[in-house]
Chain length 195, copies 2
DNA sequence: CCTACCGATCGGTAGG
DNA sequence: CCTACCGATCGGTAGG
């Protein structure tokens, strides 16, 4: 159950992520980060190249996690679409709760990426949202879901989930699985056709 | 239909709000703001006292708008609770769409307020959220709504609405009223008891 | 990983 | 509303 010790670089990423979440990327100084790690500001640069490099790594690593877990959750195309959408929602919530600080940075600080990273990031996000949109569209086509506007519904669904990192703390009264289930229930029951 | 001309101070607030939304409060410099207004940085200070004063005014003015519109929308206690909640949702959406830039700042930049303003702001936000929570609780008590956790449901509901300013642009294919109606329909139909 | 430092930029002010 | 400027702080580097 014990994790391997973190490399210095990984420690920097983790501590920076927590600071970026709490104060925002622009308002976090490299001196604050260094102090939090117990070293001097200049020393950071033997492990990283720049402040933005940290943000880049955090944002793109989490994008990767979202894709991997979405793909695994929805892989079985023989299941009803509504069930696959439910699995995608629960997978999304589990990624969000697995590292809430990194998730918050992913959701809110990406705009401080400079070009071309910012455009690449937005393309990834669009592609991920398209995965949800396609599920909703298929669900509507097969009369498992109903909504006047699948794209609108998919965005609303994701937005409803993405507020979680600003709220979730590990060890709270609700565990990740229970949160995932409740959110899926509250958000999808209104979409699913009742028999 | 034409609005009265803006005072210089109001122009500063408006332009700053747009910049705060696009770049974030911390990453927006007073020199950028001055340039956007066609004046020099030092000149800003004959109209305002500080950068944070602008943020303070924007955040608290919008909080006031949310309270006023919520109160008006839910004033008639003789209506069914589900109907009052629906009116509150639509009122919330209309405030969000009335000034999407100010709404985005209200939602995401308040953490750059220094104390005691930050604590005051969070207290107002909690009070506003409590208004929604109480409606959900009443709805459950009167068997008009169903959810295992009214507080959780109320927060999810608001979060689902609050993603709108990052997405909404005036003059799009959906008007404010249609957006408000669709969101209420998608989010509440899953909560309301079907007869 | 530290010391010592760089040029740039920050929010804000004085005086007109 | 501008000019000229302030002390502080920023991200980052050189050399050890």
């Amino acid at each position: 159950m014990s994790a391997p010790p973190l490399s210095r670089k990984a420690q920097i990423d983790r501590t920076a992520t927590a600071l970026f979440r709490a104060r925002g990327f622009a308002a976090t100084s490299m001196r604050e980060l260094a102090t939090a790690l117990g070293i001097e500001a200049g020393s950071l640069y033997s492990h990283i190249k720049s402040k933005e490099e940290i943000l880049h790594r955090v944002c793109f690593a989490l994008a990767e996690e979202f894709f991997v877990d979405f793909t695994r959750a929805t892989a079985d195309a023989t299941l009803p679409v509504a069930q696959r959408l439910r699995a995608a929602v629960e997978a999304h919530v589990r990624v969000l709760t697995r590292d809430a600080a990194a998730s918050a940075v992913f959701l809110h600080e990406w705009r401080h990426l400079s070009e071309p990273a910012r455009t690449e990031f937005l393309a990834l996000r669009d592609k991920y949202e398209a995965g949800f949109r396609h599920l909703v569209e298929q669900g509507v086509a097969q009369h498992e879901l109903r909504t006047p506007d699948p794209a609108f519904a998919a965005l609303t669904l994701l937005a409803s989930l993405n507020w979680l990192p600003s709220w979730y703390r590990p060890g709270g009264k609700l565990g990740p699985n229970e949160i995932a289930h409740r959110l899926a229930e509250q958000l999808l029951y209104g979409l699913e056709v009742r028999s």
